[in-house]
Symmetry: C2
Subunit: 279 residues, 2 copies
């Protein structure tokens, strides 16, 4: 697989890279970032995936996420993919919450989103294979996190692949697309009207349908403008309680939905993952 280096900058003792490749899954060029901490020659490091929210590319968390110091200290590789295929030849929607920048980590089944909007397969299959081939990572030690739409991505991908991810966390995630306007719009658009087909893309439904993991960590700001209508962490609380999944849900007083919130608790999340990503 061919990987183009867009940029590499030394940071916190390691290397922050941005890379581009032609994805066979989406049929487009895809860009992502990888931070590799300083490490011994030949070492393979645990990897933490970070899935971004609506409107974001890899760049938002790469610039504003404040993860590098903690990843350098813990010896963890941090991978930040894009949130959708992009380009003039790619389907889009005028709204910020559908189409480019809003892939919702699903494999679309509906026009005009097929065949390019295949972000589930891209994140679950193609990109991990590429990362495993090109970077010093131990694919037996993976964690996943994300923000908002990307928190939804992290929870659903983690819950569907509990043997792959030793640790799953999220910042202000959309916990139930079945039960919020963002989710109803996106999943009906990408997957059609049969709501049964949506359940594998809904963290609460996955848990209700039997998915089990050892632990979940969620941070949520109480001043988040999307809290009541879109995010609804109480639904995840109920689902986890019913299923006996230990959920640490930290409601952070006064914090909003921005990277000022994410960056405030990023180091805590990295350390939480690091504890669970030891050999």
């Amino acid at each position: 697989m061919t990987l183009e280096t867009v940029s590499e900058n030394k940071a916190h003792g390691g290397t922050q890279g941005v890379f581009r490749h032609t994805s066979t899954t989406t049929g487009t060029d895809m860009t992502f970032s990888v931070f590799v901490p300083e490490h011994e020659e030949g070492a393979k490091l645990p990897v933490l995936w970070y899935l971004s929210g609506l409107t974001c590319t890899h760049a938002n968390v790469t610039e504003k996420g404040e993860y590098r110091a903690a990843c350098a200290e813990a010896g963890i590789v941090f991978v930040a993919p894009d949130t959708s295929p992009r380009g003039d030849a790619v389907a889009d929607d005028d709204a910020y919450d559908m189409g480019q920048g809003a892939g919702f980590y699903v494999d679309a089944t509906q026009d005009p989103w097929v065949p390019q909007f295949m972000m589930r397969s891209y994140i679950e299959e193609e990109l991990p294979a590429l990362v495993a081939e090109q970077f010093p990572v131990d694919m037996a030690l993976q964690g996943i996190t994300g923000h908002s739409m990307g928190g939804h991505g992290a929870l659903t991908i983690g819950l569907r692949n509990p043997d792959r991810f030793a640790s799953i966390s999220a910042f202000s995630p959309i916990v139930s697309p079945l039960n919020c306007p963002w989710g109803e719009k996106a999943l009906s658009g990408y997957l059609g009207d049969d709501r049964a087909a949506w359940r594998e893309y809904d963290a609460c439904a996955l848990i209700a349908d039997g998915a089990r993991v050892d632990a979940l960590l969620v941070d949520q700001g109480t001043a988040d403008q999307f809290l009541d209508e879109q995010l609804k962490p109480e639904l995840l609380r109920e689902a986890c309680d019913k299923a006996g999944i230990p959920l640490t849900l930290d409601m952070r007083a006064g914090y909003d939905h921005s990277y000022y919130f994410i960056s405030s608790f990023m180091a805590d999340h990295v350390r939480w993952h690091a504890q669970r990503l030891r050999k």
Copy 2:
């Protein structure tokens, strides 16, 4: 003085704000950011000024500087001004290194830059008065730092005001505008051809002319593309050695001129200032 709040976000336990005011010094609206850590009611905190480099506004360091965690821990207010007056009615130059975004922290004496390009007076007089009035700061405990052109600003403003600043540091500063293309262009444009008038805007010349401070801290990346032609830290080394000023000049192997470099050592600088900003 009237201050407009552009945005406020809770971050790292404190508040990251962005503010706008109408400057009597530049005759324009000016925007700046202030991070105020969590603190006891009525407390006055030390303040660290951060002056930005060419092309930057307050936003670059605010988003990418990774200073909030360290400032929160040390209880230090962090102020990031803009680098020039801006607007359609403000003089400018097509080049990135002159005019808007490139004020060089001087009080201009030449057309078309007078009367608006008064960044020395803005940073030394008007903005401190505003900050002292509007924020919980102890103006007896001030430090100053900055990057590149802003490193030049921090060094020269600090050297001219040793009684005001208990601590002075810089990231990849322009140490001698008299001796580099950026400086020669900017100072001849803003100040005219009499190089004697430039000396108060040149850290090395200020030291040669008698300015004295207790200590200086400078971090410089060895892979910085501007190192040899523009930055020349060896000139500061020579000037400090000759004057007996203790300079800690940390040459950082492999680091470039970007915020990936700055953010890697920002916490170290904040802690260095914090040690010197205790009552």
